[in-house]
Symmetry: D2
């Protein structure tokens, strides 16, 4: 029988009837005492962040909630509710689309920052990344927000403030700014840090492993997904397609 | 062309290159200024909550993050990563399970509270609910936490404090306590309010529509789903099944 | 231990090392001997269909594979692969959208046919359906294929042939044609049977429970979902949105 | 406007009111004329297979439908319906788990066969695979079916028959048997071809690209997922967890 009890194991939660401990802390002591970002940190890390750490995490979570219904994830959530999906179901289909290309840039940027942090070689690591992964340097450039994604400078200012206050080291901010300068030099024009690049600085400064950059972005963007699904539910519609009914598609067969 | 531009419409977000406004507010003014629960409220409702409202919402979000790996959603997330799923993908499969029975009790409880708020008739509405939907009264009783789910009294105390401070009306707390007393009378034993019943009080007090009780629970439980998926990723495993390999299943065919 | 072994139970499959029996038949005797539709029937029903039954099921499975990229499920699958999703993941997000409105009409039509089969009262059951569920009568009318969905008459001809051959009763075909005539009388114009109405006739004739009409449609449409996801993968694209980048959306906030 | 019409393009399907052409063929001519496996091939490839090709594809689709409720995908589907999920929703969550480790072995095996087909070097390619991807050689060995997965020899016999009949080349069968012999030599014991290795031979013989091996497996296993979800729906249950309620989990925190 012990093998069955051991089959599932976790250090996150312990329970018996009437008792729920999260990371060793009674749930009733956490409710009303810790903020939601602190709880997120506690669940993922096992300890509680400092006030400054929690504020940075909170800023990153606030920054990523939405980028509008042309994002494939948001469009999917909005279409899903017109197909009869409940809100959790719409969220599921949409979060599933926050994959390598759509929601994975932050994770990749943290990986790149870690490589540069280890080797100190920005040009070399950028070149190596492009050789291995293709031309896109994660976290830099934006096909829409030119010249500047308004979220990035605000987030970077908060990181710099936190570094001055001794809450974080600031070295990943320096790395990211170094990449930005390097890319501008190569391209002969600005390739500004985007939301993924800036939130990746925060996640790296706070010590989150790279895959959690994607996970935390999913928590953040889930808010936008939920809000759009709910708005679409109120707008109504049945089997809403991507374009108005009159447009259909181009047939490319012979 | 205007029909294409009109095909997708939203009051949540407005954008042009270099500008992102959420509910009419520049994103850079929100980042670092509002809390994550405030941002959730803003996205869903269009305005910012008072401090007291935000604290109640935060308490509900903190309370629901996890109930352990025997919950089907958490088990699914943990199995998913052992199948090769990325974190967003594991979250998608798991949130999809937060459906009517697993994640919908809060939504149903808000509906029941609204009915009672309209008619004033607790016994009548409870009886009508059971006739329409079956024996389970959403938000009350727990198959594991007997006699008391530790989250519920803590959340209710916060609601009562907020009512005294004039932040909320407190009438949904009264309704929920009335249901609890009524059910105890019928059953001849305590049928205590559970986490869904208590968070539903908060969501109803704050004026959220019933379906958003499910949506907000999904945001909260997504934290636990992410944490467990990540922990399982670190534990490793390949194609982890629900029980240890030696157990298989009972064949009930002839 | 027996409670663990009993926790999962099934009459579908039995196994021991080196042996896999499906519904009591060794898998190696099924492979190469039964058709894929026969295997689908065996898995769902426990026995093998007659040749005529299998051909009708096959026709329904062939008929429903695709209705183009404006269907929200197909659009989702195509967008998903541009976000980095693997094919199984794109299929998951898309099948999730085959819900009540998008993929549930066949299930609802079977329900309606069963009601009429029991009461014999087409006008009464249609009126009752509309009172309970809204104006749409599942399986009839099409917003695009006017006057005729080309799949429906072909499927109905096959059902009629099978009825003549004694493979099925034909009574659900009669019911469906009765609904079609009744709706035309009410509307003063044709409200022709659509693909969902016609496949529902087949599923009802074959004795499938209503929810399996949705399940079988999912098996069928999964083919189209996979084909479109794969075609999009080859077309390329990153974070493909629902409309071309220049269109964005209409902001409806103040 | 043309950019909108061009935004979605496909060679799979063409439509106008009253007309649906699949790969240039009127749908009503396909219904009742082609088998479901032929339709799958047509959708994915653009042409119709020969009879022998279709039979091999059908055998692979039949072979993969189920491996029991301990598979994480099947367990997820069964749990999902007890959470209130509809059948399409249960299928979605489950297919999402057919990822790299759970459903991707066939895709990987096709890749490996293609490498060996190009270089002719079995030991070299196996060694290179293990260096790049880890110790598991996709398609060979089974943790449960020792010494033999009963599906593999049956599928291989069908491939050999088709090769004798000139339907396929048989060279991927030879490659797979070469890998099997090589691995046995290294391991000093049999490492027999499993279901993924054998279906990969079929998919490679038939000319399917490697990712479609995963896609086709998803079509096949969706049958088992649907059957188990439906059986569980009939068994009932609410929020079914992975192990019986009494077992919970091992708390590994301090």
């Amino acid at each position: 029988m012990s093998d069955v009890a051991d089959w599932w194991s976790t250090a996150i939660i312990d329970m018996e009837p009437g008792r729920i401990d999260i990371r060793g802390r009674p749930i009733q002591e956490l409710i009303g005492s810790v903020t939601f970002p602190q709880m997120i940190w506690l669940m993922l890390r096992g300890d509680l962040p400092s006030g400054g750490q929690a504020r940075l995490l909170e800023a990153a979570l606030v920054a990523g909630v939405d980028h509008g219904p042309q994002a494939p994830s948001i469009a999917t959530a909005r279409m899903a509710v017109t197909c009869g999906a409940a809100l959790n179901q719409a969220m599921a289909s949409a979060v599933n689309l926050l994959d390598d290309v759509h929601g994975g840039a932050g994770e990749q940027a943290v990986e790149l920052y870690h490589r540069i942090d280890a080797s100190g070689d920005i040009p070399g690591e950028v070149a190596r990344w492009r050789t291995e992964r293709g031309k896109y340097v994660p976290g830099f450039g934006h096909r829409f927000h030119t010249p500047t994604d308004p979220r990035a400078p605000r987030l970077m200012a908060l990181v710099r403030d936190a570094a001055k206050a001794g809450e974080v080291s600031g070295r990943f901010a320096t790395i990211a700014e170094g990449i930005e300068a390097h890319l501008a030099g190569i391209a002969g024009k600005p390739v500004p840090m985007n939301i993924d690049g800036a939130t990746a600085v925060i996640f790296a400064e706070l010590g989150f492993a790279a895959p959690l950059a994607r996970g935390l972005f999913c928590l953040s963007r889930s808010v936008g997904i939920l809000a759009h699904a709910w708005e679409q539910k109120q707008q109504g519609g049945r089997n809403k397609g991507p374009t108005p009914p009159g447009y259909r598609w181009t047939y490319t067969g012979s």
